[in-house]
Amino acid sequence: MTELSLAASPERTEPAAAVLAPRPRRRRRLGPGRTSARGLALGPLLLVAAWTVGSATGLVDPATLSPPWTVVTTAAELVADGRLQSNLLTSVQRAAIALVLGVGLGVALALVAGLSRVGEAIVDGPVQIKRAVPTLALIPLAIIWFGIGEEMKIIMIALSVFVPVYINTHAALRGVDLRFVELAESVGLSRREFVRRVALPGALPGFFTGLRLAVTVSWTALVVVEQVNATSGIGYLMTQARTYGQTEIIVVGLVVYALFGLVGDLAVRAAERRALSWRRSLGS
């Protein structure tokens, strides 16, 4: 606070303008402080370091978990023969299509349930039931209904994805401040304007929480459906590797899942920061 930099040289006589030079940001004494990209990478890097050291010293048996360098060379081989890219592309496509469908479904149902009592009575119960049933348990039925093709996989992933989007968006819509509802009434907003100006922007933080969970869920659901029956995709690659006891390929698959999960989460967080730039809170 003391070093307000004023660039007044002694020769000058006119009053110097206040200089707004960037000052070093002090760490906030209370509260968690700012998050940085570097800080977020620390935990994962420590994990990789422990893995490397464990493998190098022989603490980790290569038959249990392949050492990182083997994983890297295996990944390079898989890239060289094109198997990694083609399977990854399939997986990313499945996840992306299912994510779009699932998020759309989740938001639509949350709007129905969040903005009308009748809607809530109809929608909320079935969603809670769906939430209680594990995706894996639905697969036998899904195969009978939708076959074993792409539709089944995408539908299964989308059905897992919409749940966190629905839950969080619905809760946020229900939690819109009554004071703002009163304000909307006092300025005579129509129902449509109220939804557009008050309810939706007010529910946006909840939606983004749901979206972050949904991105992660789309990947985990992908593993489930790709390992049950598939002829392509990262999950298929890993299932095959298991059959032939190739742990290094399994680990490559795990690393790819992890990387894409992290990248997806970072992307959603970046979008969230942009969309919610009006918020100033401890986390930002």
Binding site: R179, F180, E182, L183, A184, E185, S186, V187, G188, L189, E193, R197, V198, P201, G202, L204, L276, S277, W278, R279, R280
Partner: protein, 239 residues
Amino acid sequence: MATLTGQLTTVRARGLTRGFDGRAVLDRVDLDIRKGEFIALLGRSGSGKSTLLRALAELDDGVAGSGDLEVPAERAVVFQDSRLLPWARVLDNVVLGLDGADARDRGRAALAEVGLAGRERAWPNELSGGEQQRVALARSLVREPALLLADEPFGALDALTRIKMHHLLRELYDRHRPAVLLVTHDVEEAVTLADRVLVLDAGRVAVDRPIPLDRPRHAADPQFVAHRESLLSALGVDR
């Protein structure tokens, strides 16, 4: 609701009763507010002054009650908290619910009137408490209300900011001449700003007193002091 009895009356309430849980908070209140009249409504907490304001704002759906009430359709409310949508920029808050091609221009003009020209694109939480309340005033004025209802609008502001806001409110009132009902617990604020002061006690209008003092008003003026002291004693404060 819109059929007003006289050209000179903006608000007409007869036997207005409102209650919660079987207890009457407003008890057969009769109230006329003339066009362009500035009224301050005083009362101890629990006297029903906010209930009366909310009744006039028609924000009390579902509250039990009876009586006749005529209020103009063009009315605006200023709340104790500025109640700005935190996710909307200042100008968007001001023009909330307005339509018409010139809405944003009118919003800009209203912001300039409250001294916030150039802050149109700021987020509400970048503003100080006083600035936020000025945006709320701009949001009310841009609607050109016939009746401005203000529920302790300066209650959360510091003393210096409050004095500035008094000047601003009176200035805006002189320019636009809406009828004003200002709910406050601050007797000095009431005597400074209003042309007529009502004291609500146990749901009834206990005092209805015109304040015919010249402007600008000074709290040290003996007549000002006389009004203040008699209103304070009506509120049960004996000194």
